[in-house]
Amino acid sequence: MVVNGKKLIEILDRIADVIEENKLMLTELDAAIGDGDHGINMSRGFHAVREKLKDDDGSDIGIILKKAGMALVSNVGGAAGPLYGTAFLKAGAVVEGKQTVDVADLENMLKSALEGIKMRGHAEPKDKTMVDAAEEALNALNSSNAAGESPQQAIKAAVDAAYLGLENTKDMIARKGRASYLAERSIGHKDAGAASFALILKTIFDELYGQESS
């Protein structure tokens, strides 16, 4: 697996479409225990990413991710803006100047993104946030890479783990964000941020290896 800047821009472009297709699902998850704007916020954010990268020459992966991060920070409106924005900025920082990235870079990017999300949102695992999907994904990617599995297997493992993390948020009591106002009543609902995180990771896999194999 080697991804160049042009391919990365295509992936981000596809993420904008997938978020758009899943806008209602994300909004419904958020509406159940939050403020119900996650779908539209993410859709706006990733359309802004698409717009911002339209004329990018794709020569520097770090710059692409930074531009994406700034577009998200400036256009999302809800908590997802600073969180995903920070995630993309942090991911970009570890691949600055690179023309291509491989699966080892992806692990570094995900690690740095997760650190950024935790730093910005002060969330830890089991708080019922996107951290619960991201942490599982990173651990799976790390184990798979360490075991010498193929990039396809490793990224697939990360996607599956992110969805497992998302499922796990259902039984958790929200400790961050608006959902925390509901305390125990947040149990039984999946976290919208974890859902968008899993969806983004799945889109990356699908773009790299095709939907058939996912």
């Binding site: 403020d35 704007d37 539209i40 916020n41 706006r44 920070v73 400036s74 256009n75 999302v76 409106g77 809800g78 908590a79 803006g81 600073p82 969180l83 924005g85 920070t86 910005r120 949102g121 002060h122 969330a123 961050k176 964000g177 608006r178």
Partner: protein, 129 residues
């Protein structure tokens, strides 16, 4: 005098809190940064940055916010300032309307930012993570 920035998810709420605070201290610079750029509920880092720059003096700026992501965006806006501006900007977790009014009154009395932060401790509602 310390400038004040009110960050709210709602343009109306930010403007309303600004009005209430300004009535008590008309001489103080207070800016409202409410809602997203396209007029939805939410907070916008660019409008927060603009508001900080609008009321900034070397006496500093105090930011008061309403809920969750307002804090994260305020924090990111502060991080984007130049270093010498950044060290003169504080974010308070005071209740928004009360905090804005108390901060405005104390700024009008020419109290320094550190003193105003102390005055606000009675209406802190632990909404910062």
């Amino acid at each position: 005098m310390v400038g004040i920035v009110i960050v709210s998810h709602s343009r109306n709420a930010a403007e309303g809190a600004r009005e209430i605070a300004a009535q008590m201290a008309p001489e103080v610079s207070i800016a409202a940064a409410g809602g997203t750029a396209d007029g939805r509920l939410g907070t916008d880092i660019n409008s927060i940055l603009k508001a900080i720059r609008e009321v900034y003096t070397d006496d500093g700026v105090l930011i008061i916010f309403d809920l969750g992501s307002a804090y994260m965006n305020a924090e990111m806006a502060v991080e984007m300032l130049d270093e010498d501006m950044r060290k003169r900007v504080e974010i308070s977790d005071a209740a928004m309307v009360e905090g804005a009014a108390i901060a405005a009154v104390n700024s009008g009395l020419s109290k320094p930012l550190s003193e105003i932060m102390k005055e606000l401790k009675h209406c802190r509602i632990s909404k910062m993570p």
